[in-house]
């Protein structure tokens, strides 16, 4: 098709100017140009198609990786969102509790706080597991039975009695959590004797018995979101780490955004262009490439040791992450500020606006979408940062939920790191669930930024 067009064109030209020699010459060169172009066209199209295919492949490849990653994490995380509970008949006998049976009212509540609930739990549950197979529980059996239940079982039954003291000396049904090993056994359905199974044949038999009696129930794991870290996987939750992350991010955003934007505005709009500003620019670019753990060391050596701020605190974490995020925000903001058309600055200057007015009523609003994009990249980086926080003590095992920026805290990535280090199998699912929480947080921040950005773009 290309060839025929070429011929047509050349013949038209020939018939149009057949007379002089000069025009034939022009003609020849023209037709040869067309032919050459036509020849190279095929190659050029091939090149373009090859590149398009390659680009499509890389996009699909990246997308596939994301899907695999998310799929893997989600499937591993799902078991962490529900948990098995068991219904036990608890007999709050006074002599097991170690207090006088006749007590009531205020005196009872006072005594109950220090009562021996472990004995109540043990004595209530042992009879449930006596059957023809094990007519009498040995000490070892008793230990095995007790191990089926979460270690906070005694606190669950204590709280239940404290909530309704009229159950004193009565037998009531109370739901408590199963131990993580039993939970994992029920969720993953191991065959007995399989590697990694942490319960023995007898325990499996007892669990089956509990199931037959319909005493075991799977419930949504509220504790994962309301509890903090724990040595016991069935009790561990992300609330402490999530709060720590939010507090740390609060400090980071509060410090890095205004500082970064102010720095970028100063360097772009106000600073004289000389050697010193060149040097500053080079150093900012260098800072962006500094390994994050170095910032952690700086935080430890200067912020904690010299300025005496508290260890493990979100305040210090936020300052360290600010140091890490600042170069990213400054570089992105400077690029966004540079991209504001100079004609807008001239228009405002021509009207008699001062430099400050030009900067704040024209340059900054116009650059804002770009600045927000840069800030989000920086903050997302900070959100996932672990190494520098290890150096300033945010890796500590902290059970309390932090309530201020100077409390001891840890953050989600560090929590994930800690759980990944734990031997208990149940932490595997917890870990994936914590990653999901972190990714969700990231998504929330990104969506907020996108909404903010489109708001600024509309203006």
């Amino acid at each position: 098709m290309t060839n025929s067009t070429t011929n047509n064109t050349s013949s038209t030209i020939k018939t149009a100017k057949p007379s002089t020699q000069k025009s034939t010459k022009v003609n020849n060169t023209m037709s040869s140009t067309t032919e050459k172009v036509a020849l190279s066209l095929k190659k050029r199209h091939q090149k373009e198609n090859r590149f398009k295919a390659f680009g499509l492949f890389s996009v699909l490849f990246g997308f596939m990786l994301v899907v695999i990653l998310l799929g893997d994490i989600t499937s591993k995380a799902l078991p962490a969102f529900h948990q098995h509970w068991v219904k036990l008949d608890i007999n709050y006998q006074g002599d097991w509790l170690g207090i006088d049976e006749r007590l009531s009212g205020y005196e009872l509540t006072k005594q109950l706080k220090g009562a021996n609930f472990r004995a109540v739990l043990k004595n209530s549950i042992y009879p449930m597991f006596v059957d023809e197979q094990t007519p009498k529980l040995s000490r070892r059996d008793k230990r095995a039975v007790f191990k089926l239940f979460s270690t906070n079982g005694e606190f669950t039954i204590r709280d239940a009695l404290l909530a309704s003291p009229e159950d004193f000396n009565q037998t009531v049904s109370i739901w408590i959590k199963l131990d993580d090993d039993v939970d994992v056994y029920l969720k993953e359905g191991f065959a007995l004797g399989e590697a990694g199974l942490r319960i023995n044949e007898k325990q499996a038999h007892w669990v089956a018995k509990l199931q037959r009696e319909q005493r075991i129930e799977s419930r949504f794991n509220v504790g994962f979101f309301t509890a903090s870290d724990s040595r016991e996987p069935e009790l561990a939750g992300v609330r402490g780490a999530l709060t720590g992350t939010l507090l740390t991010m609060f400090v980071t955003i509060l410090l890095s955004f205004p500082l970064g934007v102010a720095g970028a505005l100063y360097l772009e709009e106000f600073a004289p262009k000389n050697r010193i500003t060149d040097l500053i620019e080079i150093n900012i670019n260098n800072l962006a490439a500094v390994p994050s753990i170095v910032f952690g060391l700086l935080g430890l050596a200067v912020i904690i040791n010299v300025f005496g701020l508290p260890r493990s605190a979100p305040l210090v974490g936020g300052i360290v992450l600010t140091l890490m995020t600042l170069p990213t925000i400054i570089i992105a903001s400077r690029a966004a500020i540079k991209a504001v058309p100079p004609s807008i600055r001239e228009a405002a200057l021509g009207l008699g606006a001062s430099k400050m007015q030009v900067t704040f009523s024209h340059v900054l609003p116009q650059a804002m979408p770009g600045i927000i994009t840069g800030a989000i990249i920086g903050i997302a980086q900070a959100l996932g940062e672990t190494a520098p926080l290890l150096m300033i003590g945010m890796v500590a095992f902290i059970v309390d939920v932090p309530t201020s920026i100077v409390d001891s805290a840890t953050v989600l990535p560090v929590q994930i790191f800690l759980w990944a280090d734990s031997p208990e199998r149940a932490f595997l699912a917890k870990n994936s669930a914590a990653i999901l929480v972190l990714l969700t947080l990231l998504l929330v921040i990104n969506v907020t930024a996108t909404v903010l950005r489109s708001k600024f773009e509309k203006k």
């Binding site: 262009k273 807008i344 001239e346 228009a347 405002a348 200057l349 021509g350 008699g352 606006a353 009523s361």
Partner: protein, 274 residues
């Protein structure tokens, strides 16, 4: 005084011919020199801008007319390597005097640029911006009044009165340029500098702008840089011809276009180069 056999690239200019003086000068410039680093862009230019009249600055590209215009409200201050010397007076006051704030100067000497550059804000805010930053009004009603009268003077009010809240960037090129003129007028400057205000516009929009310039000279002193000789002839009372950073000839527009004294001017206006 003039060399009639010229090769334009080797011309040596010593003095400006014609009449640089005005009876009623709003601005007078004496021996202005402008340097970009080591390079001299303007050589010893002296001229007057007559009050309430239009002075056209013409000349081939790169002759320094825009540079010169931008010196008149110190827009060149934003360029670090730019240096200006000589006497540049506005109402007998040196505009490069040490104590003078360029912000104040630019409120008195407004500027309209080659490419329409409305702010990415509403039409209303575009016009109101200057009045707002200078604190010219005390109430919303006064500001409304300024916006309306400025738009009216710029001949734009009837076209946009129903959509003052729409973005200024959504207007057509010609409307945008008139919006920029309205924005400049809103500050009530004494002098308006126009840097090829119609070069990006079609003939109809250009005609509207030219008509507007003619009306504006009743209240303002105007200096306009233009590439179009017809435009210069139509709108201006005085014309200054620049060549390679020097002011070659200046005089009444009708004289320059009918009886140019200098060979360079003649060549330029008859279209032999430029």
């Amino acid at each position: 005084m003039t060399n009639l056999n010229i090769n334009i690239n080797q011309v040596e200019l010593t003095e400006t011919v014609g009449n640089i003086f005005a009876d009623n000068a709003k601005m007078s410039i004496r021996d202005a020199n402008v340097f970009y680093g080591d390079k001299q862009a303007i050589h010893n230019v002296s001229l007057d801008l007559a009050k309430n009249q239009v002075t056209a600055l013409i000349g081939p590209s790169g002759c320094g007319k825009s540079t010169f215009l931008r010196c008149l409200n110190r827009m060149n201050d934003t360029i670090d390597i730019c240096r200006v010397s000589g006497q540049l007076m506005l109402d007998g006051e040196d505009i490069y005097a040490k104590g003078l704030d360029p912000v104040l100067l630019r409120a008195r000497v407004g500027m309209v640029f080659q490419k329409p550059n409305p702010f990415p804000k509403s039409i209303y805010d575009n016009v109101a911006y200057g009045a707002r930053i200078h604190g010219l009004t005390n109430s919303k009603a006064e500001l409304d009044e300024i916006v309306e009268s400025s738009l009216q003077k710029a001949g734009l009010f009837n076209e946009v009165k129903d959509r003052l809240k729409d973005p200024g960037t959504g207007l057509s090129g010609g409307q945008q340029q008139r919006l920029c003129i309205a924005r400049t007028i809103a500050v009530s400057p004494e002098v308006i500098l126009m840097d090829e205000p119609a070069s990006a516009l079609d003939p109809i929009a250009t005609a509207i702008i030219e008509e507007l310039i003619d009306e504006l000279k009743e209240k303002y002193t105007i200096a306009i840089v233009t590439h179009s000789m017809q435009q210069a002839a139509r709108v201006s009372q005085h014309t200054a011809y620049f060549h390679m950073g020097k002011l070659v000839e200046m005089g009444k527009t009708e004289d320059i276009f009918t009886r140019p004294t200098h060979k360079l001017t003649e060549n330029y206006i008859t279209g032999r180069f430029g």
